[in-house]
């Protein structure tokens, strides 16, 4: 038996001294040692319990205009220790980047430095009001201005709109600027946006929301935009293209400059989905490729934590042609300090603005984190970020292409992510079985079934914050699961076996949606 350094060893009962147990695996609580079940707050809280002391109100006559609430709201409360325990226990049922490699392709889960969190919580940033007099928030405006400057510098573009709240909101910002620019030139009749097959699903939704009709452009057999098909479709009805670069097959669009030139020659504008900017930051300037607008997911490239689904932040950089149409508000540096241009009145220099996208200035808390990240890395570190991210992705691709099918493995180096397909798995086995098998190995699965251009896609993005040792272990785990799927190991079909839940019935959830808790003691009205 291994003994620890102090020489202490756990006591073990002598063989034969205990009675044989008839333990079934079912515990009274439903807990399994450190894997704890947790009831809903509606089942354990009460409307009389509170975990917050509130000062007694002054005695005054109410001025609520006879709207005083009489009916109960039905909000259960927990005392502070109960609440801390509830949310701590729930947290243990989550996988997170702090627990291990999180290889979601196109979603970029990397280390989140806690310095960023600390800086965002400085009262000078966290405790200031969006409508505070601008003289009292000069430091906050300076943060926005500095970050904006670095985003423009890093992308080689002309200007930036900081207010979009997330990547998809940034896409909308870029497309609205394109539409405003076309309308300003009297070309509002251009009603079509071309979207390559490999684009994020948000791209067509965004174009449709901005009032455009969407047409798909196919990918070539090597996983890039079909330049000939794209060029052939250009014409007087095309407002522009939305293209993702590096694209969702993990490849750099080699023809980007030619695409931009062709679109511009045909009178359209070029939107680039910059969600994958992390693969090229500090090494490649998208502005040199002729694009007109590109959003940057600060939470991906500049490591603001994703918090189980947001918040994000999606500033949009613009070419000189689109800059005049950018949304309000924005920050301007003047001789007297920083100024927040937020008024809707048309001043000379922003008369073309398409308006306001959001109530206030955008995701200040994310700006603080992103600027902290940029300053921590500096010019040399940011370049190294891109290089290590690309190196890690290619290492994963080349370490596994003997086991898994890599449909674009011959298309050149991949960028930030490695793409595999399910084409050589055993009959009846698919990507989902590999993914759920990886959960049992202690990993969050890669992105599944995306991009749509590849059957049974598995998209792995390791990022730059993984060590070689961590990658080697992950590669070993994925190889092992893939080999089981190739050998037709039926145990994979019921994976995961060791997670807090076994496979969840998503069809049931969609067929009979239960979206809010209802007290089972209260009978439901007859259906």
């Amino acid at each position: 038996m291994t003994i620890n350094a102090s020489g202490w060893r756990p006591e073990r009962p002598e063989a034969g001294t205990t009675t044989a147990s008839a333990f079934t695996g079912n515990t009274f609580t439903g807990n399994r040692a450190l894997m704890l079940e947790e009831a809903l707050i509606f089942e354990i809280g009460s409307t009389e319990t509170t975990g917050v002391e509130v000062a007694a109100p002054a005695r005054v006559a109410s001025r609520l205009g006879s709207l005083d609430r009489s009916a109960p709201i039905g909000l259960p409360g927990l005392s502070e220790p109960e609440a801390v325990r509830h949310y701590t226990r729930l947290s243990r049922q989550n996988y997170a980047i702090d627990l291990g490699l999180f290889p979601l392709g196109s979603c970029t889960m990397k280390h989140n430095p806690r310095l960023n969190e600390k800086m965002a919580r400085l009262p000078g940033f966290a405790d200031i009001h969006p409508l505070a007099p601008v003289d009292t928030v000069q430091g906050a405006l300076e943060v926005i201005h500095q970050l904006a400057h670095w985003l423009v510098t890093l992308t080689g573009m002309h200007s930036v709109a900081m207010s979009p709240k997330a990547g998809a909101h940034g896409e909308l910002c870029g497309i609205l600027a394109i539409r405003a620019a076309l309308e300003a030139r009297g070309e509002g009749h251009r009603k079509v946006i071309l979207v390559p097959e490999s684009a994020h699903g948000t791209n067509p939704a965004t174009a449709a929301f901005a009032g455009y009709s969407v047409e798909d452009i196919p990918a070539t057999s090597e996983g890039r935009v079909d330049l000939a098909a794209l060029t052939a479709r250009l014409g007087p009805d095309v407002a522009g293209v939305m293209i993702t670069n590096p694209n969702t097959c993990g490849l750099f669009e080699r023809d980007m400059r030619a695409i931009s030139d062709a679109v511009h020659a045909a009178g359209g504008l070029v939107y680039c989905d910059g969600a994958n900017f992390n693969a090229i930051v500090g090494r490649v300037r998208p502005g040199d490729l002729g694009i007109d607008a590109m959003h940057i997911n600060l939470h991906k490239t500049f490591s603001t934590p994703h918090g189980g689904g947001g918040p994000g932040s999606g500033p949009v950089v613009f070419s000189e042609a689109l800059a005049p149409y950018a949304p309000l508000p924005f920050v301007e540096q003047t001789a007297d300090g920083f100024r927040l241009v937020e008024e809707e009145t048309a001043e000379e220099h922003h008369a073309g603005s398409f308006g306001r996208m959001v109530a206030f200035q955008g995701q200040m808390g994310m700006f603080t984190r992103a600027l902290t990240y940029i300053l921590s890395h500096g010019a040399d570190g940011l370049r190294q970020v891109a290089e290590d991210a690309v190196l890690n992705a290619n290492y994963v691709l080349r370490s596994l292409d003997d086991t898994l099918d890599a449909p674009f493995g011959a298309s050149g180096p991949c960028m930030h992510e490695a793409l595999f397909s399910d084409s050589n798995l055993a009959e009846g086995f698919s990507t989902i079985d590999v993914a759920k098998g990886l959960i049992d190995e202690g990993y969050h699965p890669m992105t599944m079934y995306f991009p749509l251009v590849v059957h049974g896609a598995m998209l792995v993005e390791p990022t730059e914050t993984e060590s070689k040792a961590a990658l080697d272990q992950f590669i070993g785990a994925l190889r092992s699961v893939a080999e089981r799927a190739k050998a037709g190991d039926v145990a994979l079909k019921s994976a995961p076996h060791f997670a807090p839940r076994s496979r969840l019935d998503e069809t049931l959830a969609a067929r009979k949606p239960v979206l809010v808790w209802k007290d089972p003691a209260v009978p439901l009205a007859a259906e």
Partner: protein, 452 residues
């Protein structure tokens, strides 16, 4: 470079595995014109934690934090005390650094929390269902208008003059592109709201009426009659709540038969943060569920028959429906929803009601005190924790002067409605449990001096 684990030895070994001579070989597909050869112009090299902290702290010190001044700003963002355990819990790595819960078996923590959040929000707003959060109140408001268009197949939205002017601006921006027709105006500095005018404006082309509750001047009025008038013409009533604490004291819009209720959840758990990230609340009647935008979490069973939670009804969403999706939202405000939910759980019904009562009582005392300042008039008869004062002079310069004296006096309507002379003397003042009676006295005396 403390965040990058690869050593040069690792890099060489990995390049050998890949079969590349150098890292440049991995960037061969990037045209030379876009390759950066030298350093990024002007950006210094990597910096130590201490150096970055010094730089950022110096910037933070240039701001006047709300806690360092008598503070009365509201108009869509409110300062409330957030219990310490909220921020502690959301910083647990399993919440903070998790992705969207696409793999439900190992995301039950986030998913159960979202299910609890949806239930809390639906109960608070008085709606049947709620989604798992939107970006913020202003974008939720615009999404609600789009949803009303899909439900009614009509495109004319009537916006109350009491709706936050930034929310109106966001809706106007989007309407330019979606083809919605918006009818709106500016509020008048009077105690009464525009409900009568809204009712009169509803016609057979109206998709929805959008009303804020309490409104931008802090006024509150019963919405029942407006709801009935909307329904008589088959239009939807959308209510916007920017101060959810109010719903601890006054009837919810859902109880007054609003069809869609959206809100800014920042007040509960999230904090001011100079405008973001915030958390959008979105609830509606169950019959409109499938037209609802955004993410939804639903209850289901696992293969062993145990209760569990998944993201559901994704057939409405952008990654499946592409250009036919109900919204292009992908990322929402998960972590802020968690902060909201934890704070709401700590409050519970009893705590929320007590908090609301304290906010209201403080506001009543402050309103009465400030109305005693010579020349100052209280506009509202009914209000929750925010009210409007009519000053004898333009409010905007007064706010600036008071800021120079270290008092954050409120939001001038001149800032929110530039160029509207009739509103220029209006000052919107918010009072919460963080406001002390000394703060009120400081503001009252300073205002008296400035106006003298």
């Amino acid at each position: 470079m403390r965040y990058l684990p690869l050593t040069d030895t690792d890099r060489q070994a990995m390049l050998a595995t890949i079969g590349a001579k150098s890292i440049d070989d991995l960037f061969v597909d990037v045209p030379a014109i876009a390759q950066l050869d030298g350093p990024i112009h002007g950006l210094p090299g990597h910096a130590s934690e201490l150096a970055v902290e010094r730089h950022m702290s110096a910037l933070a010190r240039k701001n006047l934090a709300a806690g360092d001044a008598p503070f009365f700003l509201g108009c869509g963002a409110y300062r409330h005390h957030v219990p310490a355990s909220v921020d502690h819990l959301i910083q647990r790595g399993e919440y903070l650094t998790a992705y969207t819960p696409y793999q439900p078996e190992i995301a039950q923590g986030t998913l159960q929390m979202l299910f609890e959040f949806q239930t809390q929000v639906a109960r608070l707003l008085g709606t049947d269902v709620a989604n798992a959060s939107m970006y913020d109140g202003s974008t939720a408001c615009w999404e609600a208008i789009g949803m009303a268009r899909r439900v009614t197949k009509r495109a004319k939205a009537i916006l109350s003059t009491g709706l936050h002017p930034h929310y109106v601006s966001v809706a106007k921006t989007m309407a330019k592109f979606t083809g919605d027709v918006l009818e709106t105006g500016t509020p008048s500095l009077s105690a009464g709201t525009d409900i009568g005018a809204l009712i009169a404006a509803i016609d057979n082309d109206t998709s929805c009426v959008v009303v804020q509750y309490p409104d931008i001047l802090g006024r509150i009025e019963d919405l029942s009659e407006l709801a009935a008038a909307c329904h008589a013409k088959k239009a939807l009533l959308i209510a916007v709540v920017t101060e959810p604490v109010a719903l601890g004291a006054i009837r919810s819009p859902g109880e007054m038969d609003a069809d869609i209720v959206v809100g800014e959840g920042q007040s509960i758990g999230v904090g001011l943060q100079f405008g973001g990230p915030y958390v959008g609340l979105f609830g509606c009647k169950e019959k409109y569920l499938r037209q609802m935008p955004g993410r939804l979490c639903g209850e289901t069973l696992d293969a062993d028959g145990r209760r569990g939670f998944v993201l559901t009804l994704s057939t409405r969403e952008q990654h499946i429906r592409r250009e036919k999706a109900t919204s292009n939202i992908c990322t929402n405000s998960g972590l802020c929803a968690l902060a909201f939910s934890i704070h709401m759980t700590l409050l519970g019904e009893a705590g929320l009601r007590a908090l609301a009562e304290t906010n209201h009582a403080g506001a009543v005392v402050a309103a009465e005190r400030l109305a005693q300042v010579p020349g100052v008039e209280l506009v509202n008869t009914a209000f929750f924790n925010e009210f409007t004062l009519k000053l004898p002079v333009e409010a905007r310069p007064v706010v600036r002067t008071l800021a120079d004296r270290g008092i954050l006096a409120g939001v001038s309507l001149g800032r929110l409605y530039p160029g509207e002379a009739a509103l220029a003397n209006g000052l919107v003042v918010a009072v919460t449990e963080t406001t002390t009676m000394e703060d009120v006295e400081t503001l009252a005396s300073a205002l008296q001096e400035v106006l003298a």
